[in-house]
Symmetry: C2
Subunit: 107 residues, 2 copies
DNA sequence: ATGATACGCAACCAACGAGTTGCACGTAGG
DNA sequence: CCTACGTGCAACTCGTTGGTTGCGTATCAT
């Protein structure tokens, strides 16, 4: 089952892309300005932004000759949902274990 | 900055590996038994399990001629921590926005 | 009009990822 | 002992990915 979570998790697996997301939390920026703070080319950054965009994590709007990128934190939902579900299973299991321990210990 | 989150997110980006984690939530299993439910070879599954292990998401113990894999949900923390922080920034930003809207609207 | 700036597209490359097959080694059981 | 089973390791293929460079084009300012 290939779902959205694939792309979101894949997008987040790269430290450069996570860095970009963190920067874009604070400001709207262009690929060029972001590339200046990184040891890679503008095109490399543009590719990363394109992948983030495909994953629904950033959106862009053209303004004159610039393309402004902004963060789209709602896009994180598929990933955090999956994680939350895992955590739920996990905590539920712990709770059940505790319950069993209590009943066997007290009963 | 290459951190643990890299491997965790990368591990989760593959639907087969997420499936394996979900199965291993319910039971302890061998690579062979898991491969029987998937359209891929045992070795392919073993590789996935190896990657999950490297990411700290599963652990294994040898028992006779079998290798039993079990889930290690604590390994999800680096990923969920990062996501939680993003969510926090996001909500804080919304709260600040709401506050500004209120003050400019009422003041 | 000209030059500088910001962009997008395409080709190319090295490295990695997911998958396969083949084989050798330990272990369980007739 | 011998066979069958389960595993691990290595080699190989093939598509993807992160990176580069080069080029063409649109926009802004002089």
């Amino acid at each position: 089952m290939t779902t959205e979570a694939d792309h979101v998790f894949a997008a987040l697996s790269d430290p450069t892309r996570r860095q970009l997301l963190e920067w874009l939390d604070d400001e709207v920026a262009t690929a060029t300005s972001l590339a200046e703070r990184l040891p890679i080319s503008r095109q490399a950054v543009a590719k990363h932004l394109s992948e983030l965009s495909a994953a629904g994590l950033v959106s862009s709007r053209r303004e004159g000759r610039e393309t402004l990128f902004s963060v789209d934190n709602e896009g994180l939902e598929p990933a955090s949902e999956w994680l939350a579900q895992r955590a739920a299973v996990w905590e539920q299991r712990l709770a059940r274990l505790a319950k069993t321990a209590r009943s066997t210990g007290e009963g």
